[in-house]
Symmetry: C2
Subunit: 219 residues, 2 copies
């Protein structure tokens, strides 16, 4: 039996949410592994990445097939393009979570530095942005998506604060340098995840309203 366009659209929405759920878990797990010095959890996060990669391929294929087969009208097409772009962003987030898990593995035997307190705060904010961007997608809620974009400044503020703090550690004693450097890269990866969540939120606005708010177009 020939499947309908709606069938494809439903399946794509479902796969995107599944992918988003996986990536959220990976981000949370990677930071947890860092804080708890849990190398088993770090390895589990790294192992999950394959599933995320496969989901991206699957979404891309189903999206392209839908466009070729059904030649959808403007709004459905915007949905398809947005889903495929968002899948790419989620896949990159997965890579960032892997980077964090790898840092956790390196740091597993080291005594903690104080910024462990701020990193989970940054991580919680970033996860919230990921969740909100996907919820906005499902709800077709452009206002909610724009709120995600606005939170990016908070992330940048926290990142800069962490940067200064870690730099101070490095200056204080050379024995902190390696640890602080790894934590800095962790913070950098969290900041990149927030950027990708912002991209998804921008795609939501494009899908729902048909306008491009990137690069300051939000007014």
């Amino acid at each position: 039996m020939e499947r309908s366009l709606d069938h494809y659209l439903d399946e794509l929405r479902h796969d995107l949410l599944r992918m988003g759920g996986l990536v959220e878990e990976m981000i949370g797990g990677a930071v947890q592994a860092l804080v708890d010095r849990d190398d088993g959890l770090a390895r589990a996060v790294i192992a999950h990445d394959r599933q995320v990669d496969l989901l991206e391929k699957q979404i891309d294929e189903a999206g392209n097939t839908s466009i070729v087969r059904f030649q959808p009208a403007a709004r459905d097409l915007r949905f398809l393009v947005s889903v495929m772009k968002s899948a790419t962003d989620l896949e990159r987030m997965g890579d960032s979570a892997v980077n964090i898990a790898e840092a956790a593995l390196v740091l597993v035997g080291e005594p903690p530095l104080k910024p462990y307190i701020d990193l989970p705060r940054l991580a919680a904010l970033v996860r919230e942005m990921v969740k909100e961007s996907l919820d906005a997608f499902v709800q077709k809620d452009a206002a909610r998506a724009i709120a995600v974009c606005r939170r990016d400044d908070e992330v940048d503020g926290l990142y800069k604060q962490l940067f200064r703090e870690l730099l101070t550690y490095m200056m204080e004693d050379a024995k902190y340098i390696t640890r602080a450097l790894h934590l800095l890269l962790v913070a950098r990866n969290l900041e990149r995840i927030a950027d990708h969540a912002t991209n998804i939120a921008e795609d939501v606005v494009y899908y729902v309203e048909g306008r491009d708010i990137r690069h300051g177009g939000a007014g």
Copy 2:
């Protein structure tokens, strides 16, 4: 007069190359500004980013319009999807070039560290990858695109070498830490640009051969 699909495809190809040329220049300029401590050049690079952003929007719009209006067959559709994805990658490369130019501005008054010698080497390799990925696109040359993907390992090797070198500086004397940290972030940005060039190369293979070689699919 109604414009044909071929007209759109030609224009998109042209805009993508123009965008690629701009981004290549930005990468080269940013690294040059760093090495020569040339704050005018760094500012010029940062100013160019707006043009790159506009070109991305323009390509996205023209791509979506072409799909809706002409409902193209498989190969033309793959071309359109690949062009839009590549434009996104080029836009991110532009952002990385801006990050490098900003680091150049910070470092403009500082005495140089030795790794300035290795950074331009990494930058030259990365620019070559950007150029090759776009040439492969225009020539529809999948083999050339796959060669770009393979060079990514070279970049990772050079990056790791630089990382170790900069870490050694930091350990040696606290007065090197800030400078070394900024150079580390420059190296990281160059490595990310190489990742984006690899993405474009993967899109070329998808466009030319209709197969997805991401995540180890190249065999």
